[in-house]
């Protein structure tokens, strides 16, 4: 026990000696959280639009007015011909061009159906489909108004038939803000980066400098060395979880609705597996450069892409979904989002927590075994 404490103290001394590193560990996550928290949004607030109004009548102008007053559309340009439309869309300046046909008003007055063209720059499929939804909503309202006006003028009762409408209610995140979805996940990502990199580098560094040899010839047992090396990073991991959650609360006003104790408990379970992965990376690499590249490509990138951090796991092909089951961050992000946004606890997330615990123990056990063999 005493030896372990000595090693822990030695690690902390090394931290203290390297102030640049210390700053990176403690301050960088907050700065990143701020930038990323504000930037990570898929909400489409402004749809850059151009209108090509071939009709130029009161009805068509009223129609355009509807778009202006909705607040979602910013009209960049009024086109006079199709070439104009093409340049704007091709250059990627505008997301959509709405073409109002020549006989727009005439046809409506004759109670015929008129066709409205909306040409999208579809290269960003997600934004295009959301914008299409907005346009459909405005057009439907406008159509309804026309029908209602007709019926009013002809003096008949307004509803000749019944009506079925959808009432959608969004739970947990009524304003549909992507930020509420992203920020908690960024917490998980930052914690992984901090703990994983530090562990993988700390061991390889001693290898490269040659001080590992000195540690081996001392009476310290391998297990003591592993524990002594890992505990400081566990503590640092906890510190960064705390900092980031407090910052999230202060900066973005996102409160933890569920149990904070459970959140920290699962962070502990999760950090077990990142520490294990870090240790593993350090055993397979000879130089710091190798360790870093493996840490980035084999561990961190899969975490970003396959954990459901930005891209929902449900949308992925089945095979890729199976691969995502071995990513510990996937379970941790599910827990973070559940606890912070839904107010969930152990009851809803016992499975994720168990998975984290199992993976943590397995990864840590095997890397420790590998590490021990290398030492002896």
């Amino acid at each position: 026990m005493k030896t372990i404490i000595h090693i822990i103290r030695k690690e902390f001394l090394q931290f203290k000696r390297d102030p640049k590193m210390f700053g990176i560990i403690l301050i960088a996550p907050i700065i990143q959280l701020i930038f990323l928290g504000y930037a990570a949004t898929l909400d489409l607030n402004t749809v850059h639009t151009i209108f090509y109004d071939q009709d130029k009548t009161t009805t068509s102008r009223n129609f355009i007015e509807e778009f202006k007053s909705s607040g979602f559309f910013q009209i960049d340009h009024y086109a006079d011909n199709y070439e104009d439309v093409q340049t704007y869309i091709e250059k990627g300046k505008s997301l959509v061009a709405i073409v109002i046909p020549k006989d727009f008003e005439k046809k409506i007055n004759r109670r015929e159906t008129t066709q409205l063209q909306a040409i999208f720059n579809g290269s960003d499929g997600n934004s295009a489909s959301i914008a299409a939804g907005y346009i459909a909503a405005i057009t439907t309202t406008f159509s309804k108004q026309i029908v209602k006006d007709f019926i009013d003028v002809s003096g008949r009762k307004i509803s000749t038939v019944g009506k079925i409408s959808a009432e959608t209610r969004v739970w947990y995140n009524p304003e549909l803000k992507t930020r509420n979805f992203m920020v908690p996940a960024i917490v998980g990502l930052l914690v992984s980066i901090v703990t994983l990199i530090l562990t993988s580098l700390a061991v390889v560094k001693e290898k490269e400098i040659g001080t590992l040899e000195q540690l081996i010839v001392t009476p310290i047992r391998p297990l003591q060395l592993i524990i002594g090396k890992l505990v400081p990073f566990l503590i640092l991991g906890f510190v960064s979880v705390t900092i980031v959650i407090v910052a999230m609360n202060i900066i973005f006003g996102i409160h933890v609705r569920g149990s904070v104790v459970f959140l920290f408990f699962s962070s502990f379970l999760y950090i077990l597996s990142t520490l294990g992965l870090g240790l593993f990376v350090s055993t397979v690499s000879k130089t710091q450069q190798q360790a870093m590249m493996i840490a980035i490509f084999a561990v961190m990138m899969p975490m970003i892409y396959l954990s459901g951090f930005a891209f929902p796991v449900e949308n992925m092909p089945t095979i890729i979904q199976y691969i995502s089951y071995v990513i510990p961050l996937k379970y941790f992000i599910t827990i973070i989002r559940g606890v912070i946004l839904k107010g969930n606890g152990f009851v809803q997330h016992w499975f994720d927590a168990t998975m984290l615990l199992t993976m943590g123990i397995l990864i840590l056990f095997f890397s420790a075994l590998r590490f021990r063999k290398r030492l002896e």
Partner: protein, 378 residues
């Protein structure tokens, strides 16, 4: 500047690269491998939305509606419930993404000319997906409404009147698949990390081992040293870029619509910009640990989140929009999307290329300046 000396440095750096075969393999093969896996993972195409139905009416119309929902690939029925209290349990436990509630007097209300509402309770944690679910739900209800209205009206001998028929047309990507939009971003991200991180270590390693002193006392100028160090990595990254684009073509059908020489030129400029980040990091940090941490912090997450790869830059707050200029990936993604997806020529992207050149010169200039100052001090 002396070309011969630059070549000598570059040659030495190449030897370093080839001596560490494991490292070289990681640098060359991993990016392609990652593109293969991640390319399938990056999409926002919402299909198979899991729904649970609470049908309070159980009439032929309500059943027909549920059938029409599940027949499309957008909704998957995962179960029925029969009381209100189960809704929370289902959404809390992520068992379904939406609960559809059909009210008791659904068809009776409709046929007695009243308004009736189908409720969709949606798990909003993922705001983007929820938005799309909302859109599909409304569309499904509207088509049911239109169908029943036409039926009722035709029985009464009149026709329904729809004034405006909206015809959306999607250029460049008719089936609105998001994968092809994301592939250029993925390429940019993989390239920038490979380039910046690998270079950032090259100089620091010499510092840590002390071999930098020997270089300093030689007649090599700092600009020659830095350029010579960068060149091999730029070449390596260029090979990487070619392999990734071929993989993108084979695996994801990403055909380059525009001109290849233009694509090559812009990739080269982007790679120079990315390696200059690495060089600057390398100059300011004293240990590989610090260099690596800074390099990942400034390349990995920003190129993912600030570059417009996933999150549209126009939706960000104004200050953040300015800050997005710190990552060259932003400009390269614009260029790639323009050349690869829209097939446009140099007229649409020259400003982006100019930014990239400016970016690279500022960073390289700063690196050379700081390095020569440090050298003068020691």
């Amino acid at each position: 500047m002396n070309l011969k000396r630059i070549r000598a440095i570059a040659k030495k750096e190449f030897k370093h690269l080839f001596r560490d075969i494991r490292m070289l393999l990681i640098l060359l093969l991993f990016p392609v491998f990652l593109l293969g896996i991640f390319g399938y993972a990056v999409n926002f195409d919402v299909h198979h939305i899991k729904i649970v139905v609470y049908d309070e009416e159980n009439s032929s119309i309500s059943k027909e509606f549920i059938n029409s929902l599940t027949k499309s690939t957008y909704f998957d029925l995962v179960g029925y419930i029969n009381n209100d209290s189960q809704i929370r349990e289902i959404l809390d436990g992520k068992k379904a993404q939406s609960v559809v509630v059909i009210p008791k007097n659904f068809s009776k209300d409709f046929y007695s000319k009243q308004e009736t509402k189908i409720q969709f309770l949606i798990d909003g944690v993922d705001g983007n997906t929820a938005n799309i679910i909302q859109f599909y739900s409304t569309a499904a209800t509207q088509s049911l409404n239109a169908k029943l209205t036409t039926e009722v009206l035709s029985r009464a001998g009149t026709k329904s009147f729809v004034p405006i028929d909206l015809r959306p047309i999607f250029w460049f990507n008719p089936d609105l698949k998001s994968t092809r939009f994301f592939i250029p971003g993925l390429i940019a991200m993989i390239l920038i990390i490979t380039a910046a991180v690998s270079v950032s270590l090259s100089l620091v390693r010499e510092k840590e081992r002390g071999t930098i002193e020997q270089i300093n006392v030689s007649s090599i100028k700092s600009s020659e040293l830095l350029i010579g160090k960068t060149l091999p990595y730029v070449l390596l990254a260029l090979v990487n870029a070619a392999m990734i684009l071929i993989a993108g073509y084979i695996l994801f059908d990403v055909v380059v619509k525009g001109s290849y020489p233009l694509l090559f030129l812009s990739t080269l400029i982007f790679l120079i910009a990315s390696t200059s980040i690495g060089i600057l990091v390398s100059v300011v940090s004293d240990s590989q640990q610090v260099a690596f941490s800074i390099a990942t912090m400034v390349t990995m997450l920003p190129s993912f989140i600030l570059s417009g790869f996933v999150f549209p830059i126009e939706s960000m707050p104004a200050i953040i929009q300015v800050i997005t200029n710190i990552t060259p990936a932003k400009f390269f993604i614009n260029v790639l999307r323009a050349i690869v997806l829209r097939g446009v020529g140099v007229f649409a992207i020259w400003d982006q290329l100019l930014y990239l050149i400016l970016y690279a010169s500022i960073l390289l200039g700063a690196a050379i300046l700081i390095y020569s100052k440090k050298e003068a001090k020691s």
